[in-house]
Amino acid sequence: MKRITIEPVSRIEGHAKITIQLDDLGHVANTEFSVTQVRGFEKFTEGHPFYEMPGITARICGICPISHLLASAKACDAIMAVRIPPVARKLRELVHFAQIVQSHALSFFYLSAPDFLLGMDSDPASRNVLGVIAGHPELAREGIELRKFGLLIVEGLAQERVHPSWIVPGGVATPLSNATRDRILSELPAAKGIAERTLQFFKGALDQYKEEIEFFGSFPTMYAGMVDAKGNLQLYDGGLRFRSATGDVVEDYVPAEEYSNYIGEASLRESYLKAPFFKPIGYPGGVYRVGPLGRLNAASQCGTPKADAEFREFHQRFGTVAHSAFLYHYARLIEIVHALEKIETLLDDTRILETHTRATAGVNALEGVGMIEAPRGTLIHHYKVSEEGAITWANLIVATGHNNLAIGRSVQQVSEHFIDGTKLTEGMLNRVSAVVRAYDPCLSCSTHASGLLAMQIRLLDANGGVLDELMTD
């Protein structure tokens, strides 16, 4: 009997380890996905002023600090019990859509494209974004442009691309200038063109990935994502909808402050990443998935014309509920189209230039929950404060956490299908890493843990001795 460990997993955010146990015949007996570092944000923020939480928790992640800023600011709005000015809400939505565009572009073009464009079995030395640039320069250039567009908006609004201090409890710090609005609008058509071309390209290539679609985390689970009262996809605000594996809406429009009635968190022996589960079903049966695929499965429609056309085609191809984790990539591209349409709608409304952007208040409630749909899925910040405003307790449920159980199952499925322990190849193990990448996990976020983007694979015998080891970086 052998055991393979993939540690660290490459081209993801954060540190992960995969252990694959083989039986004496070289077949996969068991797998385990674990996250190997902890950071402890929930603990060390105790005692700090609640209004400093957005700035502190944004440091959980450098890829989507905007998500943490927004979820945290929304939790602070709840503690202040304020209704933020309408333009502040619009500006927060705008920066959020921009962040979705840049983060999804990063995931698709930089992290996962090397697998589909260069091949799962291609030389790992060049199976990276530089390889994509060499082999598919036009697509790589467009990916860089698209990400740049998202960051252009973030920078235009918030003055900084990473960790801006512009999103504040009660609203945003400054209004949008006419010049910035015009600049974003002038660059929008090019971004839309890239998004549509990439989506067409990906759809055209889907036939090449039949095996991946069939075996990459393709199993029935529940899905969750935020929607409005009509079931439209919502990314900034709304209620959480849970849809069953067979397509029934199990719970609808769950408000942020009631999340804990539906989501439980299990601690796993070998991982610093907790495993949220759907409480009414319990652990470990209550597996649900979030993120682009979870959202497109949970929502009834997107609510914007082009994205809705793509949404319908997506579900025509893969059913009311699409179960393959490989389709996260597809869903991500549809969401980029949606985000760009929403950006245009927001900017076309002149009220976006209103200047009263912030409400102020002290502590008016001793508890607050902020929930948004981050690029990787539902993000929940939940704080309790003293009457003076000091944090007494904090709980963060981060997108990748929700997917933890499903990622574990996906690793098992891919390993069982692709790994033959008697003739182990790097390409086999890369497929295991690739299914993890499909979820675009942010492990630094989900454990609130630090680290390099890497994964390690180890092959152990029945007694735990290392037979083979593969490091990726």
Binding site: Y51, P54, G55, S165
Partner: protein
Amino acid sequence: MPQKKISIRIDGELISALEGQTILQAAKANGKYIPTLCDLDGLTSVGACRICLVEVSGSERLFPACTTPIQEGMSVTTNSPKLTRYRRISVELLLIERNHVCAVCVSNGHCELQTMASALGIGTVGLAYNFPKLSIDMSHPRFVLDHNRCILCTRCVRVCAELEGAHMWELTSRGIHARIVSEMNEQWGKATSCTSCGKCVHACPTGALAEKGWAVEEMVKKIDAVTSLVHRRGAQV
């Protein structure tokens, strides 16, 4: 009787100053820059931060410019590789002593400690961080005291005692255990002598004392309002 004028040299230049002035006062009066952190125009000098150390000819030891009186014929050097080294060490020791996390601080971008570190070229700190577990007093309805960000300059103590006349702030314990305390170690919000004037907040060089509710980078101190008040009231130090 007018104060006696005496002559000293600062960085080789002969200047005329008033007897009883400190090296720092004489330097300022003659347009010479000496870096400081704990000093605040109009308040008693205490020599707490050791950033204003200068060299005086004839002595091997360094002298804090803010508390050393001038003497006839004194020759002072305000800038040298040795002084830069000492000043850097002083600032690095302040940085490692508590938890100065600029990135998430309300005073980021408006902090005198940060500005000084930058001016001295401190990009990285070579000494091991202390990472103490320190409390934050949020009991006051308008203001907050974060010990993590305090450098014990005692500007708050002095501005409260000397300008506001309340003497609500005090220093307790010694060395690494020293802390700013409000009214006999009572919570700030319960301190009956606090007038809630906010002078301590605006005199504070870092984010240790701040107005409640500001997010990262938003706490801009009105230090000029404090010093101009000193002069409008005619205080003499």
